[in-house]
Symmetry: C2
Subunit: 344 residues, 2 copies
């Protein structure tokens, strides 16, 4: 057994909140530690889920949810746990079918709140057309957890002819998104203890599998699908640019953002590009299909605000650039950790 | 949305540690709350994993691990997390293939300990012949978790002709087990802070998928497979008796138990029937195959101490009885919660 720690412990000998933020420190952990020890072609794909032949082509994904507070404007931890995994499976180009559900409960957690959450899970699963097929419950002592943590793992099957992967991104691809960014993160912040501020912003948490199918109804020639959650739009775009060694340019003017979120970000000094979403879909599609895909997405409620936000080229490979409103260009870096812990 | 809580809140309006103990209170939670809201034919099967056609016959399972301490004699939380899910999938009659891995880390958790655990996971996965194919990491603030919680979900495929389910248990079935019971629970207790006592007992945590295959190498006519973990042997036997509406009789004289565990149980006033195992396999097999299955199990290191511990009949359906050493018979009830929290 190799006792030396692969992550330089001069910088970090303890886990920090940023290691769970989905940014570069999370990536460091994955690349230097998890891949080093557990690496295989599936994990190395760097996708949110895994696709495998067994004997059909299936996709499987897992996510633990530790969001705080557990009830927030527009949703709760249960809904989030269903949507998050459904969306990860759907972003593999798969039709999500089954979820597993594992709960870690803190001693003393009110039964009625659990019941609300279980109902929310049931409703979200029915709405998304998936079934919870097995589960597990653990309880830890008071003070050794925080109310409720939920893990969902999901599986679905990938119809013939679909090939979705961050490494499939190609110069010329058009980048679409289905609406306003940063709603989830701002909704959580607005309800976080000690950080309360007046807003009517709700989380955008929603299942994206029907929207994904509407995209495929136009063409199978879709390159990348991604739901930008923790770390915001910037993290997803950076991961895709890096995985495909392409350059990504987004246009500030075309980034959909509500006035309220814009205002909240200005007050709090936050950049909406780095704030978490929970119901947003990024679609990378060859230019010839972009208009039809956009039209198809707009047919569904969850896609009615879809728009083009950028395109892929071969300038500065592996990097994300933003053409600002005043016409200049700036690099959009990956964030080192989530701006706010426990956003999902 | 139904706001009334289905579990009688006169008795329990808060989650207690016993709700995570795998006993009757866990069952109450599953039956009255989870099944009520999430019920489907898979969940209602009451199995540790789910078997589904998609398009082959696959088995999927999930478990979260919150064991304390995270390093204990004979293993650690990482090893346990691999073995636990591998065994649940194998006990569906499946060949486990892939695992997902989701970590909830407490801020401040030492990186070196994480690395030890990740290596342990890697080793256990390689030994069991499974791959970790996707994962997730979350971090919670110091004091909002406890070092590390791990979820693994697993999938495998079920070869033609196998039909394993607790409801398949039939009068006349012989019950086999692969060795000493209660080792895991006693090993954890012996290393638990404030409860330390001198012992050389190690956890029995191990992967059982090869042992399961040795059973099937004799015959496909196996009725039930089960790894009795939380809640001990008694919980598993009670669940199987209930699911199949049969009576189960076990023989105290034939129950394999080390002298050390017996001594520890006497000192602590605990019943080994209720103490957790992590590497034990129960096999329910028609009498005509029992000797050959026993012989096959003994060929493998993890089965070398296999023996017959009981049989199934139709007396007192749904109940478990033990013929004691002095010849009397007593009912073996299901425990209400685990004797010790966070045993796995």
């Amino acid at each position: 057994m190799d006792l030396s720690c692969p992550v330089p412990i001069t910088n970090y000998d303890k886990i920090t909140l940023a290691h769970g933020g989905g940014g570069s420190l999370s990536n460091q952990l994955i690349e230097k530690m998890f891949l080093k020890e557990l690496g295989n072609s599936y994990l190395e794909e760097g996708h949110d889920g895994a696709i495998f032949d067994l004997p059909g082509k299936l996709a499987m994904s897992t996510d633990s949810f530790v969001v705080n507070p557990i009830f927030f404007p527009g949703g709760d931890i249960g809904k989030l746990a269903v949507h998050g995994t459904v969306n990860d499976v759907a972003c593999c180009g798969a039709l999500p079918k089954f979820l597993t559900l594992a709960l870690i409960l803190e001693e003393g957690f009110p039964m009625e709140e659990l019941w609300l959450i279980i109902q929310s899970i049931g409703q979200a699963a029915r709405d998304a057309g998936v079934q919870i097929i097995t589960g597990d419950t653990k309880v830890v002592e008071k003070g050794k957890g925080d109310k409720i943590f939920i893990n969902t793992s999901g599986i679905g099957y990938v119809p013939e002819g679909r090939d979705i992967s961050p490494s499939n991104c190609r110069p010329g691809d058009i980048i679409l998104i289905n609406g306003n960014i940063a709603d989830h993160g701002v909704a959580i912040m607005s309800s976080r203890e000690g950080l309360e501020f007046e807003t009517s912003i709700e989380s955008d948490t929603q299942a994206l599998n029907k929207l994904v199918e509407s995209v495929f109804s136009v063409t199978k020639d879709i390159h990348v699908l991604r739901d930008p959650t923790r770390g915001g739009l910037s993290s997803s775009l950076n991961e895709i640019a890096k995985a495909s060694n392409t350059g990504i340019e987004i246009y500030e003017k075309q980034l959909p953002l509500s006035e309220e979120v814009k205002g909240a970000c200005e007050i709090l000094g936050l950049d909406p590009l780095y704030i978490a979403n929970e119901g947003k879909l990024l679609v990378f599609v060859p230019e010839e299909h972009a208009d039809n895909v956009l039209k198809a997405m707009k047919q569904l409620p969850e896609g009615k605000n879809s728009c083009i936000i950028g395109r892929v080229d071969n300038k500065s490979p592996g990097m994300v650039r933003m053409k600002t409103s005043i016409g200049s260009s700036r690099i959009v870096d990956m964030i080192s950790g989530e701006q706010l812990p426990r956003i999902c």
